[in-house]
Symmetry: C2
Subunit: 98 residues, 2 copies
């Protein structure tokens, strides 16, 4: 069962993500990051890799793409906030973009 992260557990989970450019969305228990690539092919290549992982994790991002930029927002609807799934997918996306 997916559990909502809060308090010290949430702070601990967020610290390394903040270091990698993730930020909590204002007014919402969600995290956001802007990924920028060299061009559209690189940006969509990242999305393709991330999409496969999202499906594997059965946890899907809210995301948008304009040419070489990909905006990603992660949250866990089932817990109306953030869970380990968001942390896992955020880290995976950082790896894939790296």
């Amino acid at each position: 069962m997916t559990e909502k992260l809060s308090g010290a557990a949430l702070d601990a989970a967020l610290a390394p993500l903040r270091d990698n450019g993730w930020a909590v969305v204002e007014g919402r228990e969600a995290i956001h990051k802007t990924f920028t690539f060299a061009n559209f092919v690189e940006a969509f290549g990242f999305m393709s890799r991330a999409a496969i992982w999202a499906e594997k994790l059965n946890h899907h991002p809210e995301w948008s793409n304009v040419y070489k930029t990909v905006e990603v927002t992660l949250a866990t609807h089932d817990v109306d906030g953030l869970s380990d799934l968001d942390v896992k997918l955020a880290k995976k996306m950082d790896d894939l973009a790296g």
Copy 2:
């Protein structure tokens, strides 16, 4: 050279797109459509096919995806409005989603 569509040419180009669910964005010379699929794999499969066409046409969408929904906005920055490229990509997307 890409030319901006306006007047009667724009109206003629937009008519069949409107019939397929495209609408002009309020306050902006751009068109928008919401595509809805059975699930994430179908939605991202559509995006993958459309991405390859966008790159082939060298004309890229502004688009977002949340699970089975894909929101697409098309405009031509070079002409600060709509051009044949938007009409072409919109029709191609309709074909790919069909």
